[in-house]
């Protein structure tokens, strides 16, 4: 959790120095990747990453909610008293999640079915609330948008990393296209809950190795 703490600290320190919005955008993609570095928003990452398509859809839905809520929170940041901020943020987030929910149903019932309750559960994705709380409530609209896009795309990236691995190994397909000649042995464990845990853990390990290498270089 220290990674998370640190990030929030960085966030609060960064408000002092005027950095360009591009920075906010890029940090979420890689350096402070919400999943791999901050270990936030795990539930959907694990639950709906059994296929690449689900992962991508979920990621984009989350990004949309994150973006919209960051915009609104940033706009209303001087209007909302501190004591009711969390409640207000949740209201805002829940609204956009409901909207997303209906939008996805309208796009494809099939997709909605496979994502299941996890669309609704975007509401409680720690990532969204923590960005609203730690960033958007303290920063200008432009920066908040950049932050939301960066974090959101970082989230999509992470989800996609997991989804791709799990789908390829677990089902032998990628976006439902068979990758291997028939007779491929699926690694069923990958689409099971345990596989979700393992895949995420392995991605975290890879990131840790990168981090260690980098530290060594320094």
């Amino acid at each position: 959790m220290s990674a998370e703490d640190k990030n929030i600290n960085q966030g609060s320190l960064q408000m002092a120095n005027a950095k360009p919005s591009t920075d906010e955008f890029i940090k979420g993609l890689w350096r402070d990747n919400p999943v791999f570095v901050q270990v936030l928003g795990m539930c959907p990452v694990l639950a709906v990453s059994n296929t690449a398509l689900n992962a991508l859809a979920m990621g984009l839905a989350t990004t949309f909610v994150l973006l919209m809520s960051n915009i609104l929170v940033s706009l209303l940041r001087n209007f909302i008293p501190k004591q009711v901020r969390i409640a207000s943020y949740i209201l805002i987030i829940a609204t956009f999640v409901t909207i997303t929910d209906y939008a996805i149903q309208a796009i494809s019932v099939e997709l909605h079915k496979s994502l299941g309750a996890f669309i609704s559960l975007i509401v409680v994705n720690c990532l969204i609330l923590s960005r609203a709380e730690a960033f958007a409530s303290k920063n200008t609209l432009g920066k908040s948008i950049a932050d939301a896009l960066g974090m959101g795309l970082g989230f999509v990236f992470a989800l996609f990393c997991l989804g791709a691995v799990r789908e390829i190994l677990g089902s032998g397909t990628f976006f439902d296209i068979a990758l291997f000649p028939s007779g491929f042995q699926e690694w069923v464990v990958m689409i099971l809950p345990a596989g979700g845990f393992f895949t995420l853990a392995i991605w975290l390990l890879i990131f840790n190795v990168f981090k260690e290498r980098k530290q060594k270089d320094e």
């Binding site: 959790m1 969390i86 409640a87 309750a117 509401v123 345990a194 596989g195 840790n208």
Partner: protein, 192 residues
Amino acid sequence: MSDSLWNIFIGSSLINNFVLAYFLGICPFLGVSAKMETATKMGGAVTFVMLISSMCAYGIHAFLVAINAPFLQLISFIVVIASTVQLVEMFVKKMSPTLFKALGIFLPLITTNCAILGLALFQTSKGYNFLESFVYALGAAAGFTLALILIAGLREQLEFAEVPKTVKGAALTLLIAGILSMAFMGFSGLSF
């Protein structure tokens, strides 16, 4: 298809364990499973909040069906649950600063604990009646606490192990959770 209460309990606690099968509540799970003490406290807090929100959710659902506004389900769930949790949080902060310190930033995060909202959503979609919902919540909380305590015990023991540096932290917890999740697969299909 009405299920016996006992099977509902087994289902939500062991077979479809919220943490290990549904991945609900992973964030607090990673954070507070490091120590047995905090794990049990967190388990208690979650149990409490789950029971309350299960009852809230049942009431809200009935109300929304009555006024024919299903589209308000999610937002009402989250708002009511969040406010309940916030009340609990303030209460804890006032009453037991040590407990508050132990749970740290995770008390506000109970609000954003997917397990609690997930519980509300699942019990509604399964169409449980009040008693069934209550048992379902009880099972979910028991399962959550069980998983939390099991992992906390293992992590406490692994404090004193030569875990490779790269693996330490969230990755290790996830790997343990994965192994436990496989072990819990042994319960699948369990019914009396």
